[in-house]
């Protein structure tokens, strides 16, 4: 059962993101120049980019940069690292364009590259030093500023998620934050759907335990 349909795309609110999934019908629009590229499907841009047209890839980066950065941020919990990972992943995507399968969706494919890059970073970093993620302070007194309180709460959640075991974290971020379907998560992580479900069960239990422990 997949109750939460993908498509409620949290965060991608910038211009051009309507065709984020490449599912918006282009029929009737005709082929438009790249300067008016919102109506062009991702698939067409990928084909042009494969032929070496940088403008086409630039448009893909414009559409998907938030997604790449957001996933990296949630997997790593560090804005600077996330920016590096997003950059590396987008450049890797350009290099790997010849291997892009036509039946795949660009967003799913990019998720896969970003996730792998982030997990590599995370593993590399752990080999250097065991990191300690500091939980942000949550003051006991009644906070006058509700926005600050909200931000603190979000930061707390992100810190807790960053402490989950890698494989659980990846499944949880893709499912609960990116609203991917189980099938998409399986494709991105290169595992089976039952394996995804198993990881998600463990991740949810683990996260809930940590949330119970409180701030």
């Amino acid at each position: 059962v997949n109750p939460a349909a993908p498509g409620a795309d949290v965060g991608d609110t910038q211009a051009g993101s309507a065709s984020d999934h490449g599912r918006r019908p282009t029929a009737g629009h005709g082929r438009q120049p790249l300067s008016a590229s919102e109506g062009v499907a991702d698939e067409a841009l990928v084909l042009w980019a494969r032929e070496g047209h940088q403008e086409a890839f630039e448009e893909l980066v414009r559409r998907h940069r938030d997604r790449a950065y957001r996933v990296a941020l949630r997997l790593l919990g560090d804005p600077h690292l996330a920016e590096d990972v997003a950059q590396e992943a987008l450049v890797a995507a350009w290099r790997a364009l010849p291997r892009f399968r036509r039946e795949a969706r660009f967003s799913t494919w990019l998720y896969r590259i970003v996730t792998n890059t982030a997990l590599n970073y995370s593993t590399r970093r752990r080999e250097v030093a065991t990191e300690v993620v500091e939980l942000p302070e949550t003051g006991q007194g009644a906070p006058a500023d509700l926005v600050a309180e909200h931000n603190r709460e979000v930061a707390r959640i992100e810190a807790v998620i960053a402490q989950l075991p890698l494989e659980q974290r990846a499944a949880l971020v893709l499912r609960s934050f990116e609203q991917c379907t189980y099938e998409e998560v399986a494709e991105i992580l290169g595992i089976t759907v039952p394996a995804v479900k198993g990881r998600l069960h463990r991740a949810r239990r683990e996260l809930t335990e940590r949330l119970r422990e409180g701030p």
Partner: protein
């Protein structure tokens, strides 16, 4: 509020699996058995606790996240460098601009360095910008191919080694590029240096 002692694995007394309730809350899913859930106190209490615990998670997920503005520029700069098909070496560069040097410039430096080695009569090479400069570049790594005419009667193996060292040293000194290979091809020998 929370039932701290209760493990999250297993089943409730009403036999509903805790994992199923967790999934329902995490994914905003529909209950598997709405009629049961509407009346079961175990399910209702557990759902209430899980919903409260997961509320901040859903809020965090709803927070819009935008990539830093510089990301796009950095990615496209990098890609433009990659697609310069090896005709430029990159000396330095980050967000504020990039210094590159054309391979034929490196070829000039390499030829002059080689020509200064005793025993080398002259070094062949095409002047000007062309693809066949004998130099390949990728990022800061450079591979150089030289066609050399030597004076007669020398140990060409040793001369080749001297040329290699001198060229690598000079290119490194003037450009900062790492010379990974210098191929020296002796294409002729002259009977005496004067000829």
């Amino acid at each position: 509020v929370s039932d701290l002692g209760r493990p999250l694995e297993g089943h409730l007394p009403c036999t509903v699996a805790l994992d199923d309730l967790l999934e329902q809350v995490a994914d905003h899913g529909a209950p598997a058995d709405p009629a049961h859930q509407a009346s079961c106190p175990y399910c209702r209490a557990t759902l209430a606790e899980l919903k409260a615990l997961w509320e901040p998670v859903h809020q965090a997920a709803a927070r819009p996240v935008h990539a830093p503005p510089a990301l796009m520029t950095r990615v496209m700069e990098h890609i433009r460098l990659l697609t310069r098909d090896g005709l430029h070496a990159v000396l330095a560069g980050a967000g504020d601009g990039v210094t590159t040097v054309a391979v034929w410039v490196i070829a000039v430096i390499a030829r002059r360095a080689a020509a200064a080695v005793p025993g080398v009569a002259f070094v062949l090479g095409k002047a000007g910008a062309g693809r066949d400069s004998g130099v390949g570049a990728a990022g800061r790594s450079v591979v150089i191919r030289l066609e050399v005419v030597a004076t007669y009667g020398q140990d060409l193996r040793r001369l080749g080694e001297q040329v290699r060292q001198r060229v690598a040293g000079q290119v490194q000194a003037l450009t900062g590029c790492t010379v990974t290979e210098v191929d020296v091809r002796f294409v002729d020998v002259l009977p005496t240096p004067e000829l």
